[in-house]
């Protein structure tokens, strides 16, 4: 095992982050107090008189400062202010110009005098003194530094250090371990329990599963603890939910037939009793039929109407992880590498050829079809995937988002990710490729999921408690390697690595099973409460939210009626179709759902909708109930590029004082005003209006506004702040420098690159 490699526990902390073979690096121990400096952070190398490039075409506006590589991040310390600086949300763990090492995707060094360039990897030599360093980041930024005035040797060392430390050899070399070790175990007085103040389940305790069972009314399901201590399956959580009719004994008997011993996992129950279950494939073909039958019959028994169970094979019907990775790389290339003007003409077809939106649509569509089965056909559904750790995470989460408004609240959404991704064993470590040595395992499943969520938000903007800024920040947090959420392949790995690390560092663990890595959901790690307000959607129509309909204030309440009455409201003809069960419903992708009308009228009778289409159309014809089922519009014409996410750093694409945020600004101000009025009304005893504020119960008390933009006073008319742009709260300034490399346009230089750049090709060129 890699983590058993040589390590001298006697040597101070510094050595653990520095491979001993790299004596080249002179390590400066906390010599500088970096601001902001995370605990456990150590300066590895630094170089002064560095120029950070700002403009794309000239050195005008460039910043002078010191470039520092720590064990956590690449930092640039400057006293110069950015020209025409726009608003940028501040991160408590990172300075304005910082890039976490985990966010560095590729390190390119250039010497323009010698006409050389090289992609730097860990443990590599560099035969020239770099004049320029380009960092390609996982969050799509491209950052450049010039060393014209810097000491050549120091510059080289910093470049090598960045390349080295951004490719840790072992998970325990990820900064999170140092951070958690220092933050919570380093001093006598323990820090605040990370996540302790969180009002949301992490699903690492049986009680939290019990509560979810009760919440969804899944009375015929139980919490099973046969995997306590991860004894039966290392990739499953310790507690799983199974049909009541399956005893632990049965499960123990079945588990060896499932891939990686992953027995079926209950995800969610529809109020009509239908269950959503996820399952790995059955590895023994001889047992396939028998086992399938047993599992299905157990699930049927857990259904109040003893409804059927349908199995949906995700591997057959959806793109695989390599397809998704390839699409992501292409869409990234089109959005940030291609020269802006040249790519305009073929923009749409390039987007199409990336297939990213096609995949987004495929996942949304498949999920919507599962929604139809659960809601329209009242049957239980098993999502089956080879290992049940990738595609099913996306589909099960999307299905639950469409069907259960609870998951559209902020805490609900976070618990959903916790349940269907973190606990279900999505391999975040590999899919993020934090160690940069699992290129074939890298795949942006989570980003794809976030894009799918964005599409639904884009279509139903008042249905979610959180904003697209929240989704973007959540994605960026994947590259800050301190959160339990994104560091590991499964909960067991966290425990194992924690024990190892604690042992090697003599950290007393006490009763704890794992180091207390903060979950990403502890947003106070990164942002002030004020900045966290950017996550709140002022439009949200949540549970108990008030609104005015026909002049009277009403309050939305989740009732059984508007939640599961779809079928009752349906015309009898459709009901018959559904009950028949022989409507050729298949969960396969179909490109054209309706044959085009031929000029020959004799064909007109063949224009028949599938029951799924009919179900969707019927739903579309009624007013949308934001507290009920929500099916996204699935036509390709109605899916859009997530501009904030993909184009936020592109200066040419930024709309100054424009974009959706300008409406968000006004909405926030109005929502803030409404909140203030509500709290005033509450001061009159017994005079409260119909219900609680638009906030959810866990929101801060109403004297702290939930809105980022506060209601203005009458004296100053609300105008749009100068710093708003379509990139808000991000800023392209200094984050996207796409100058050509040695006269070669960046796009040509990078064309056909596997990820950002083809490592081998470039390395060879430089030799």
């Amino acid at each position: 095992m890699a983590r058993e490699r040589e390590r001298d526990p006697g040597v101070e902390t510094v050595s653990s982050v520095c491979d001993s073979s790299w004596a080249l690096f002179f390590i400066l121990k906390n010599k500088y107090l970096l601001e902001p400096c995370a605990s456990g952070e150590i300066v590895v190398n630094e170089v002064s008189f560095v120029r950070k490039c700002i403009g794309a075409d000239s050195s005008h506006g460039d910043l002078w400062g010191k470039l520092i590589c720590t064990n956590f991040k690449v930092s640039f310390i400057t006293h110069d202010a950015l020209p025409k600086q726009r608003f940028q949300v501040a991160n408590r763990l990172l300075g304005e110009h910082d890039v976490p090492l985990a966010c560095v995707e590729q390190v390119v060094t250039v010497n323009d005098a010698k006409g050389k360039q090289k992609v730097l990897c860990s443990n590599q030599k560099l035969k020239f003194n770099p004049t320029e360093l380009i960092l390609y980041c996982k969050d799509f930024r491209i950052i450049r530094f010039r060393f014209d005035e810097a000491g050549p040797q120091s510059a080289k060392k910093v470049c090598l250090a960045i390349a080295h430390y951004s490719q840790p050899a072992d998970p325990q070399l990820l900064f999170g371990f140092e951070y958690v070790g220092k933050q919570y175990y380093g001093s006598l007085v323990n820090g605040v329990d990370p996540g302790g103040g969180l009002q949301m389940p992490l699903f690492d305790r049986p009680s939290e599963w019990d509560r979810e069972i009760k919440r969804t009314g899944a009375s015929e399901w139980r919490v099973c603890s046969i995997n306590e201590g991860y004894v039966v399956s290392p990739s499953l959580p310790e507690y799983v939910v199974v049909p009541v009719s399956l005893a632990d004994q049965d499960l123990k008997q079945y588990l060896c037939f499932f891939t990686a011993h992953r027995i079926p996992l209950w995800c969610w129950n529809h109020p009509n009793g239908s269950a959503l279950v996820r399952m790995a494939s059955i590895s023994d073909p001889l047992q396939q039929r028998k086992l399938d039958q047993r599992i299905c019959s157990a699930i049927t028994k857990s259904h109040p109407q003893r409804s059927d169970v349908l199995k949906s094979d995700l591997d057959k019907n959806l793109p695989n992880i390599q397809d998704i990775q390839a699409a992501f790389v292409k869409v990234r290339h089109i959005c940030v590498i291609e020269p802006f003007e040249e790519s305009e003409e073929k923009w749409l077809s390039s987007m199409e050829s990336s297939r990213w939106l096609e995949y987004v649509r495929a996942f949304l569509k498949h999920s919507a079809e599962v929604v139809y089965l659960l809601e329209g056909k009242h049957v239980s559904v098993i999502l089956q995937e080879e290992e049940d750790r990738d595609l099913s995470c996306v589909v099960s989460s999307l299905v639950q988002l469409m069907l259960d408004p609870h998951f559209r609240s902020l805490t609900g959404f976070q618990s959903l990710v916790q349940k269907e991704w973190v606990m279900a064993g999505h391999r975040f470590l590999h899919r993020c490729n934090h160690l940069k040595k699992n290129d074939k395992e890298e795949s942006p499943l989570f980003q794809l999921f976030l894009d799918c969520v964005w599409q639904i938000i884009n279509q139903y903007p008042a249905a979610f408690e959180f904003t697209e800024t929240y989704l973007t920040v959540l994605s960026d947090s994947m590259w800050i390697p301190v959160f339990s959420t994104f560091l590991f392949n499964c909960p067991q790995q966290r425990t194992e690595n924690s024990m190892d690390f604690a042992k090697s560092k003599c950290i007393p663990m006490g009763e704890e099973k794992a180091l207390r890595f903060p979950p990403v959901w502890d947003w106070s790690q990164q942002f002030t409460p004020k900045d966290q307000a950017l996550f709140n959607n002022p439009m949200y129509v949540g549970k108990g939210a008030t609104c005015v309909q026909n002049g009277t204030v009403k309050s939305f309440r989740r009732t059984k009626k508007n939640y599961s009455s779809t079928l009752r409201g349906m015309p009898s003809s459709l009901r018959n179709i559904l009950m028949d069960g022989h409507d050729s419903l298949t969960l396969t992708r179909r490109n054209s759902l309706v044959p085009r009308l031929k000029p020959d009228f004799s064909q007109i009778r063949e224009v028949v909708e599938s029951p799924t289409e009919r179900f969707f159309r019927d739903w579309v014809s009624r007013p949308a109930d934001l507290q009920g089922m929500l099916i996204p519009q699935l036509l390709p014409s109605h899916l859009a590029l997530w501009r904030l996410y993909f184009l936020r750093w592109v200066p040419e694409a930024s709309i100054p004082k424009g974009g959706p945020v300008t409406a968000y600004h006004k909405l926030s101000q109005l929502a803030d005003e409404v909140e203030k009025l509500q709290s005033q009304l509450r001061q009159y005893k017994g005079a409260t209006p119909a219900s609680t504020p638009t906030s959810n119960p866990s929101a801060p008390p109403s004297d702290h506004s939930r809105m980022y933009f506060k209601a203005g006073s009458t004296h100053e008319p609300s105008s749009i702040p100068e710093y708003l742009s379509s990139s808000f709260p991000f800023s392209p300034v200094g984050n996207m420098c796409r100058r050509s490399i040695l006269g070669t346009p960046l796009s040509k230089f990078l064309n056909g690159a596997k990820t950002w750049l083809s490592t081998e090709t470039l390395a060879n060129e430089a030799l």
């Binding site: 003409e345 439009m539 005015v548 490109n591 085009r596 909708e609 969707f616 159309r617 300008t662 009025l677």
Partner: protein, 515 residues
């Protein structure tokens, strides 16, 4: 039965032709049996069954072409019927029974009333008896508009030289021209400009020194025929079904968004030159298609007045209607000649450009998407006199006295057309990003006939309106509470507070101050 209210919503002639047992061949849910009603304004279809419940409501003006389909020998009874092509991005097919000559009757009546000008009949706008509180014809008064712009000046003067359309029959009667240009000069110039269209101010943006240091910029915008074909291709990929397998490349191959981009970036260049202190002469071959698009878009970018509900109406009246965009030729109102090469969706393209701007700047326009959709609906409907005729001289005084202006409808119900997010910024110049990264297909307009798509107009706008109503409700309640709460010890709020809607902090202060 049929909702008589809907038919009566707008005036119709007393004779409504009703046809039973008609099969509407719905491209979405298959053949639907029902009744067809035809008035001199619209074609209305209502399905007999409630499931699926299908209604069609088509102004006859929106009909571009009516054709008989299938003969007596065609296979199947359903193959015998009518095929109707509409100007508003949809086609309709009806299957009819062969016996009883119903097809001939329907065809004749549709043909007659959809194309009244080809049959010596009046356009519906002349038959409409509608009454509105507001008279939309008074929206645009040239002299007032010139005054608003600070004209005349020492460099520009107003001329009545075209009072009788003698100088140029496609120009308005009142013109603003360079101060130094004498009436004699103008007459001379008019003889060699295409159709006598001398340079005149499109909103006062044309300079007297333009021709001395002229910089010629070609904007590469294609002609009206290319635009017509482009929109036709777009219709092919969105109606009846949206092209699913290769949507984006299909959309690209229509070039519709690319044309939008070229028009917008052309207008940005014009606006940029003007805001940089230069004057600009915008022209195309005749100066009534591209010129109208570019000048009016540049004016929208430069002058915030045109971004208001009234200002936008003035902009259309001035740059499009008064300056002679050939609406009659481009749209073909009431004319049966559907293949006329003069037809082109130049105005639709302009409205699309405006929509793109409103998408990029959600707070900069006083009007909403509904206004733009309403304008396009009545561009075809012939219910209002606004978009009829090719130019002012053809639009004799009868139009104003005998027809209703579209702005009468709009301004009598202006709240429905207001953008709640509107934040006036009087001196702001608005440059949209004319990039494919931001331009998008206006699906709520182009793909609105598809029943599988939820037809919701801006949920963001809707939610804002709800919050506004909620705020007002709370303010009212608060005021009531404060009024009833009259005991001497209790806190009190001044009466004026309710009107100070945006000042909740003040309320709190008052609440804690014994009065």
């Amino acid at each position: 039965g049929l909702s008589q209210e809907r038919l009566n919503m707008e005036p119709t002639l007393p004779d409504v032709s009703t046809y039973k047992d008609i099969m509407y061949i719905c491209p979405f849910s298959g053949p639907v049996k029902g009744k067809v009603f035809i008035t001199n304004y619209r074609l209305y279809f209502k399905s007999a069954d409630a499931d699926p419940s299908v209604t069609l409501n088509v102004p006859l003006g929106a009909i571009g072409r009516v054709e008989k389909m299938g003969g007596a020998s065609s296979r199947g009874e359903n193959s015998y019927g009518l095929d109707i092509t509409c100007k508003d991005m949809r086609n309709l097919r009806f299957a009819l029974k062969q016996e009883g000559h119903s097809r001939r009757d329907i065809f004749d009546i549709l043909f007659r009333y959809a194309f009244p000008l080809s049959h010596g009949l009046l356009l519906f706008a002349y038959l409409s008896q509608e009454k509105y509180e507001e008279n939309g014809w008074s929206v645009y008064k040239p002299m007032e508009e010139f005054r608003r712009q600070g004209l005349p000046t020492d460099k520009w003067r107003i001329t009545f030289i075209n009072d009788n359309y003698e100088l140029c029959d496609t120009y308005p009667t009142i013109l603003v021209v360079p101060f130094k240009a004498t009436e004699e000069d103008l007459r001379k110039v008019s003889t060699f400009r295409s159709r006598g269209r001398i340079p005149a101010t499109g909103g006062g943006y044309e300079g007297d020194d333009t021709y001395q240091n002229a910089e010629l910029v070609f904007l590469d915008i294609h002609n009206i025929h290319v635009m017509r074909e482009s929109l036709k291709k777009l219709k092919d990929i969105v109606y009846p079904n949206v092209e699913e397998s290769h949507w984006l490349s299909s959309l690209e191959s229509t070039h519709w968004l690319e044309h939008i981009k070229l028009v917008l970036s052309g207008a940005i260049q014009v606006a940029d030159k003007i805001s940089g202190g230069n004057s600009v002469v915008v022209h195309c071959s005749d100066g009534w298609d591209r010129t109208a698009q570019l000048t009016s878009l540049a004016m929208l970018m430069l002058d915030s007045h045109y971004r208001t509900l009234r200002g936008f109406q003035v902009l259309l009246e001035k740059e499009w209607i008064s300056f002679g965009h050939k609406f009659a030729s481009r749209i073909g109102h009431g004319d049966k000649n559907h293949a006329d090469q003069d037809r082109s969706p130049i105005f639709v393209q302009f409205i699309d450009c405006v929509w793109q701007m409103t998408k990029q700047f959600p707070t900069a326009f006083e009007f909403n998407e509904r206004l733009l959709m309403t304008i396009l609906d009545h561009l075809f409907s012939c219910r209002f006199g606004t978009f009829l005729y090719n130019c002012e001289s053809a639009r004799d005084t009868n139009v104003r006295s005998k027809t209703v202006s579209l702005w009468s409808l709009v301004n009598s119900d202006s709240t429905s057309y207001l953008n709640p997010f509107y934040t006036p910024e009087s001196s702001r110049v608005l440059y949209p990003v004319a990039s494919m990264r931001h331009l998008e297909l206006w699906v709520t307009y182009y793909i609105r006939w598809n029943p599988r798509i939820r037809q919701q107009q801006s949920p963001v706008e809707q939610r804002y309106m709800e919050l506004l109503a909620l705020r007002d409700e709370y303010l009212k309640k608060l005021e009531e509470l404060q009024l009833t709460d009259s005991s001497p010890n209790s806190s009190h709020l001044s009466n004026s507070s309710a009107s100070n809607a945006a000042s909740p902090t003040q309320h709190i202060n008052h609440l804690h101050t014994p009065f």
